[in-house]
């Protein structure tokens, strides 16, 4: 019987909290906007891949091969275009197939598989666009397999379903001019997708820690005593930021140790049979060789900047609210917003240019993606803009935090609706 009023009180405490309501509004508005952006990204990707033409380098011009290609071309709506070489083909088309010299021989020889080479050019960080393009390469491979079966069936007057000619497509992905195997590309896309999310989460958690520490200090009533001491407020702010960064790093370390344990557990399965060919990727080699040491260095730098940025943001929030409950209500949407911004850039597949460099510079979370791509494509102006703005915005937000610590608001708090703090005297 006593539970009901207790629950009602708890719920009322939440729903009558302006910060809680504001956080809900923020989340709904932001993710509504993000949904539209992702939808636009998917639509763009579909449009890009629907009408895409495929270059074909023909190294076997036998009648059989020409018949297969002709049939495949008819089936796909005339999108196959003969090109002289892979390089010239990739200048005009995003996907290029190589029909090898022994194509017809292997196709007509029973028990042999057909080997095709596919080259896919990807100039986008959008997983939707790149997924669609690599998917198209598989589709073409399948189309050729079916065309081969059909042509053989017609020539020999047998049922096409009785012919099973395996087609192996060896894909090479050209990502911003760097060639990668499909396995390397998978690792690269995982890196590009995972890193902004990781930074966004770290930034969100760091902002939460910083705001909670600051707000709790206010609740503990030690805050005014500390502010009355002969310490520059700048030092108090910096100490709070550094404290939250250290806590976040400890938490991050524990998180990665946990992940490592999961991975170690997952890989401690019996070794595969000897005849199974395993494809190994050396992550260090991939990151160093394909992405470059400088990009990785900048990536680490962007984590440091992200921590300072989010720490200062958290300190600002914690210093203007009255308690950790309101601080928590404010910082939760910040975590989602960081994740949202990081993913919006990736999902929408925005081109890496000065505008996206500016967005990344001001919001930090998508910075690694922008830095890695602009470095790989030698777009130095984008690199310079994004890093300079990231530095500037981090410094500005720290200055803002120090400024707030020198104002009345740090003592009186923000006066929101019914939570107005009356000056007690």
């Amino acid at each position: 019987m006593t539970l009901k009023p207790l629950v009602v009180r708890e719920v009322k405490a939440f729903i009558k909290n302006p910060a809680f309501i504001l956080s809900i509004v923020l989340i709904i508005a932001f993710y509504g906007l993000m949904g539209k952006m992702v939808s636009t990204g998917i639509q763009t990707a579909v449009e890009q891949t629907m009408g895409i033409h495929i270059g074909v380098v023909l190294r076997d011009s036998s009648n059989f091969t020409m018949s297969v290609l002709s049939l495949a071309n008819q089936t796909i709506g005339g999108r196959l275009k003969i090109v002289d070489s892979v390089d010239s083909g990739l200048r005009s088309y995003d996907v290029v197939f190589v029909i090898p010299q022994n194509f017809s021989t292997r196709a007509l020889e029973p028990g042999m598989s057909i080997q095709l080479e596919a080259y896919v050019k990807i100039d986008s960080i959008s997983p939707v666009v790149s997924g669609a393009k690599t998917g198209l390469a598989s589709t073409i491979g399948d189309l050729i397999r079916k065309s081969v079966s059909l042509i053989i069936a017609v020539e020999r007057n047998i049922d096409p379903s009785l012919i099973d000619k395996p087609v192996i497509v060896n894909s090479t992905i050209q990502v911003y001019g760097k060639s990668m195997s499909i396995e390397e590309y998978s690792a690269f896309t995982s890196f590009m997708g995972f890193m902004p999310l990781m930074i966004a989460i770290i930034m969100g958690i760091n902002a939460m820690y910083a705001s909670q520490f600051t707000a709790i200090e206010k609740v503990e009533k030690a805050f005014e005593m500390l502010l009355a001491q002969p310490i520059p407020r700048r030092n108090i702010v910096l100490a709070k930021i550094i404290g939250s960064i250290i806590s976040s790093l400890i938490m991050g370390g524990a998180y990665f140790a946990g992940m490592l344990l999961v991975l170690m557990g997952a890989t401690s399965t019996p070794p595969p049979a000897q005849d199974v060919q395993s494809v190994g990727i050396n992550p260090g080699e991939l990151l160093y060789g394909k992405i470059g040491f400088n990009s990785l260095l900048i990536f680490v730098g962007s984590i440091v900047l992200g921590l300072m940025y989010s720490g200062a943001l958290g300190v600002i929030l914690g210093s203007i609210v009255s308690d950790e409950r309101i601080a928590g209500a404010f910082t939760a949407p910040i975590l989602f917003i960081f994740i949202g911004i990081a993913y919006a850039l990736v999902f929408v597949g925005l081109p890496i240019n000065t505008v996206t460099g500016v967005i990344a510079g001001f919001t930090i979370a998508p910075l690694p993606a922008v830095v890695v791509v602009s470095s790989m494509t030698s777009k130095l102006e984008v690199l310079a803009v994004s890093i300079s703005l990231a530095l500037l915005s981090t410094v500005m937000i720290i200055i803002l935090a120090v400024h707030i610590f020198n104002r009345d608001i740090v003592i009186l708090g923000v006066r929101l609706g019914r939570f107005k703090r009356r000056e007690k005297s």
Partner: protein, 253 residues
Amino acid sequence: MLLNPRVLVLDFAVYTKALTKIYSGGSIGVKDLDLRVSSGEIYGLIGPNGSGKTTTLRIIATLLKPTSGEVYVYGVDAVRNPLEARRLMNYLPEEAGAYRDLSGLDFIRFMLSVRFSGRRLEEAIGEAIDIADLGRDLNRPIRGYSKGMKRILALSVVLASRPRLLILDEPTSGLDVERSIYVRNLIKRYNRDYNVTVLLSSHNMLEVEYLCSRVGILYRGRLLAEGSVEELKSKVGGVNLEEVFVKIKGESS
């Protein structure tokens, strides 16, 4: 003969001129407050809730910025040079607490380490430990302390820092009788032995009568009357400070 304003300011531990604080929304914290606290005295601010006591103390302690007016602490402009002013004073807010995850000893060390170092720090820590008189409890986390223990702990830190000006906002609020007496005696002792000027606010008239050499009565942000307890009594014909307060407030209303 014209007085040199700088000399005038230096003569007082606290000197405010036309001090005004208007909060956003228009509510008045203090209005045209001219407060003079002499070096070495214990000055008490009394007044009902919302009269501007905490606002005044917070402005002097450099926690709030005045809307207009001047504040000097031993001649240092507390608005323009807050850091320098803070070196001369210490402030105990009302209901001042402590970091709950620290032990009492760690709290003392932390708060004093921002002012002192080396041998002087160790001396100050020793002094604070003596004042707090919490025995083995000093090694326990503060989260387990009673309100009175936290109050004594906070007070021990501000006293052991031996500031030239000590600002105490309702120093015995929430304390039991024994602890209240202990705190009052400490304030008296530090004022007498170390010449610490004390500016305090209180709702406890007996406490103010016992401690303060001069008293200021604040009401709606204005200083209605000021003087020694005896002067105020004779001025309005009251038998005690409570009566003085009620009469002066009545006249003002």
